[in-house]
Symmetry: C2
Subunit: 270 residues, 2 copies
């Protein structure tokens, strides 16, 4: 702390500016490891980290050593770096990840046993559906989703449920931008999406088919907290060729209601 | 970067010293949120963070703002702070957490369906069994384990399996320290533990009863990678009062072998 006056001279804007710059550089190094949805996790060389973080190699070398010392990065046998288990240990303690997942998991397992299909649990985070949990059997249809993945709101079952119950300004902002048409069946026209969201609110369930991945369809339902607020969505993803089965939709509703009750939700009409 | 000469003057030991100190202070803030095994995740006030991190309130305020800006901490409505979802998002991308868990999950689900008991997946990390996954039904026996928890090696089924297959120096170091006796039945005498590890290597399974939690017993088996190295352990935790059931042990072995095969392991005798 005795260095502050000199640092202030150096940065020209107070010690905070200098600290922030170190913090920003540290964060840029971890952000270099963020993988897009569907991609596999990876290791990076020091040079690759420096390039992705936009930092000089010497600075990168020094700051990577800081992360390794704390456990945020791990040095592999081949000299490359990967994200470290310390991040995972702290990450699974985040209230949302831990409490919601812990409460929901038995109901997700029931849903998986009943349907034998991929089971997803997702929350709204920014403009994305963030996948908190995914249960899959050995032979389920192949998907790009994974735990920690972010997928669009308008082209996934859980995303549509989350958007249908999002605050008006979130929906307006989302529909104000151009929505990607992943497949011919993807609904992207704002008014058509709005009608769809109204129907989801009315029926309590979202159904979509081949709007994100060829050959896969989804049935999703909202999870509510004690106050009735929709805090998450649960879905199953099935093969589009499978015959429509009313039992599947019922199982998704039962799972969503089970988690909601466990979160303290009681229906107004009860 | 233009500030470096002045920073060097300020810290008296080169710019690296100043950067390292900022990094260490940033890490100390996150470490304030680390919860002991079994504890629930929590939120902390700014004052509590400053106390736990051993930092002045003004520094804490500034660095907490850095973490919030990046997403490593989240400010709750009541003004308290919790770990942020960014940590979870990056954490679930760590190679061990992601690949091992993804590969193992279908087999863990099978094991859960067969036995209806708690299912654990753990790896050796330092002197602890680190719990990567836990599946539990609605009515399983109550336990302190949770995803991300660290539990001792000598008093848990997965821990004994991991210790039985650890390098000799790891076992020696572990047994050189005094082992905690959680319950009257906990085996803590080094030679008794050694005999136990030898038997686990011989039989391919660890059984323990009421050595960590009253009323709960465990059956655990090793998971091997392509090279035959034990990289994880899987277990079920059952009520001690339940009648011993050979089918349960068989189910644990089948699950462990399934994950091992999925990791590329082929038995030498095959």
């Amino acid at each position: 702390m005795s260095g502050k006056p000199a640092q202030r001279l150096a940065s020209g804007g107070g010690a905070a500016v200098d600290d922030r710059s170190v913090a920003a550089r540290l964060f840029a190094i971890l952000d270099a490891f963020a993988t897009p949805a569907g991609a596999t996790s990876f290791t990076l060389s020091l040079t690759a980290i420096a390039q992705r973080a936009g930092l000089p190699l010497s600075t990168t070398h020094r700051l990577v050593a800081e992360w390794v010392g704390w456990g945020g990065l791990t040095r592999q046998d081949n000299g490359q770096y990967s994200l470290g288990m310390k991040l995972w240990e702290l990450g699974v303690q985040t209230p949302t990840a831990r409490n919601l997942r812990t409460i929901a998991l038995p109901y997700l397992e029931d849903l998986y046993e009943t349907t034998r299909e991929h089971v997803h649990l997702a929350i709204l985070d920014g403009r994305d559906a963030l996948y908190l949990e995914k249960l899959s059997g050995h032979h389920a249809v192949r998907l790009t989703s994974r735990v920690g993945a972010r997928l669009p709101l308008h082209s996934t079952g859980v995303g549509l449920v989350l958007l249908a119950h999002a605050p008006t300004d979130v929906v307006q902002d989302y529909l104000a931008t151009s929505l990607e048409r992943f497949l011919p069946g993807t609904v992207t026209e704002p008014d058509a999406v709005r009608r769809r969201l109204a129907e989801i609110r009315l029926t309590g369930v979202a159904r979509m088919s081949e709007e994100m991945t060829l050959g896969s369809s989804s049935i999703a339902a909202p999870i509510r907290d004690r106050t009735g607020l929709v805090v998450a969505a649960v879905s199953i993803v099935i093969r589009t060729t499978d015959t429509a089965n009313p039992e599947q939709e019922r199982a998704v509703r039962v799972a969503a209601q089970g988690v909601s009750r466990a979160l303290g939700y009681r229906r107004a009409q009860q």
